[in-house]
């Protein structure tokens, strides 16, 4: 009995100590290298993991990473299951109507097309183009009049090109470049699309305090060049 009491006392103490320091839960998808992916150890890794950890250090908060399906990533943020989204999410007016964003931590990354080798001269406006559901690329394809096929994960969009379901895939260039580099069967088309306003960290609109903290942290990383170093390391878009 005594040990139980002691145990609860110790638990209560650690709990109150933990309360002193804020824990921010960071939501990500974990399926979009180099932005975020699950590494061989089964942990979240990638540009946003490294950036997020540094931002948390600068903002003096403790961070915990959680993965969530892309489809329900915004509803779960709004409902408070985690506090931020760092999932390669571009800042768009449509999303800003629902959630808040910090300033962008990547330049607007050009989107590129990936198609089967030998199929480079397809007519894009009449082609079948794959994109991940709910992305800026999907909205772009729908608007340009080509036939859009949507997939739940980025990986499936590339698979769709390989097995002939789609003629090309439109996605962030930094995601497609490693794919094209390492396989001979697919190539990048030399046509880029500039869409979106750069990637930012998504937060609840009511969370103004946290947004200020992270905005300041991102600004300090932009100022001292450490953000550029990270962007170069993970080969994401242009520097600031």
């Amino acid at each position: 009995m005594k040990s139980i009491l002691l145990g609860t006392a110790a638990l209560a103490m650690t709990a109150s100590m933990a309360l002193a320091q804020d824990v921010v839960r960071m939501g990500t998808e974990g399926a979009y290298p180099p932005y975020n992916f699950i590494n061989d150890k089964g942990e979240v890794d990638g540009f946003e993991r490294e950036l997020g950890d540094e931002l948390c250090k600068r903002a003096e908060v403790t961070c915990e990473w959680v993965t969530n399906d892309w489809d329900s990533i915004i509803p779960n943020l709004v409902s408070g299951n985690y506090d931020t989204i760092m999932a390669g999410m571009s800042i768009t007016p449509d999303r800003e109507a629902v959630i808040g964003f910090t300033q962008n931590y990547t330049q607007p990354d050009p989107s590129a097309y990936l198609a089967l080798a030998g199929n480079e001269d397809i007519d894009l406006s009449a082609a079948v183009i794959a994109a991940q559901t709910g992305t800026i690329q999907a909205a772009f394809v729908a608007e340009m009049g080509a036939t859009l096929v949507e997939y739940a994960t980025p990986d499936e969009t590339v698979a769709a090109v390989r097995n002939g379901e789609a003629d090309a895939v439109l996605a962030d260039k930094s995601y497609l470049v490693p794919v094209a580099d390492e396989s001979d069967d697919v190539v990048l088309l030399d046509k880029d699309e500039l869409i979106g306003g750069g990637v930012g960290m998504g937060l609840r609109q009511s969370d103004t305090e946290l947004k200020e903290k992270f905005d300041a942290a991102i600004q300090s990383m932009k100022d001292d060049g450490s953000l550029n170093a990270l962007l170069a390391k993970w080969e994401i878009g242009a520097a600031f």
Binding site: V23, D40, G42, P75, S79, T153, D155, A159, E182, S206
Partner: protein
Amino acid sequence: MFSWCTDPNAIDGLAWLSCYLTTGKHLSIYVSVGTVLLLLAITAPVALAFGFGGAMAARSHFPPLSWLGKAYIAIVRGVPDIAFFLFFVIALDQFFEWMRHQVKCPDWDQPIRQGNDFVVCPEAKLPLSTAAQWVHETYGFSLAVLTFSIVFGAFAANVLFGAMRAVPHAQLETAEAYGMTRRQTFWRILVPQMWVYALPGLSNLWMVLIKATPLLFLLGVEDIVYWARELGGSKTAKFTDYPHPDWRVWYFLALLVFYLAFTRVSEIVLDRIMRRLTHGQATMGGEAQRKAS
């Protein structure tokens, strides 16, 4: 994991495979098999309890209770699973937090609904944002169990409701003639006899439940289908020590074997239970057993 795994590029064949299959990421899929089995083990009895409660309420002689039972069955059965899982769980979570908010933070002056956001005081969060990751995971898992139980409970309620009516009425009249009260008739005559009518329907539900577990990922619980998709997707050498092309077909093949084996075992067990329940019943199966012995 193994001593020879330090440089995966230098090895091949079985040694490579043994390293590949024991990466931390692969351990996660093995754990998720356990998660799925645990979910089934908890959900099945809880859903049966929900179903039993629902069926009892639906055939109650007290009208409001009967309406409640029938409404539960009709509404939950009518809403598509995926909509239910996306909407209901978030609503349920918010409901719990709202209740805690009312109790723990009576002095809170800000609105809970701020535009799109749902904001309760930090003390009312479930679980607390300071809680360890495993607490969050357990909470998510419990929500999943509860949601699965409510959904499958409604179907089970309908099955049990039908089974209760399938018990020959003469049995109940006889019980009454012997002077049993309504309660006694229900527990001693009706319930023991209804299972044999309920089991075919319930076994269907069990099979559907086994296959519905991938819905778990909608609730943020990482299940085997999520990991199969994640692990099987093509990997470039830049981001992993074990690059490979699209191997999803192999992972899904493994899943196929898992599910088929699991449903086969279930069938065998359910057949046994059916034989047990048929024993001594006034049904065709029961009669056949009596003649054979």
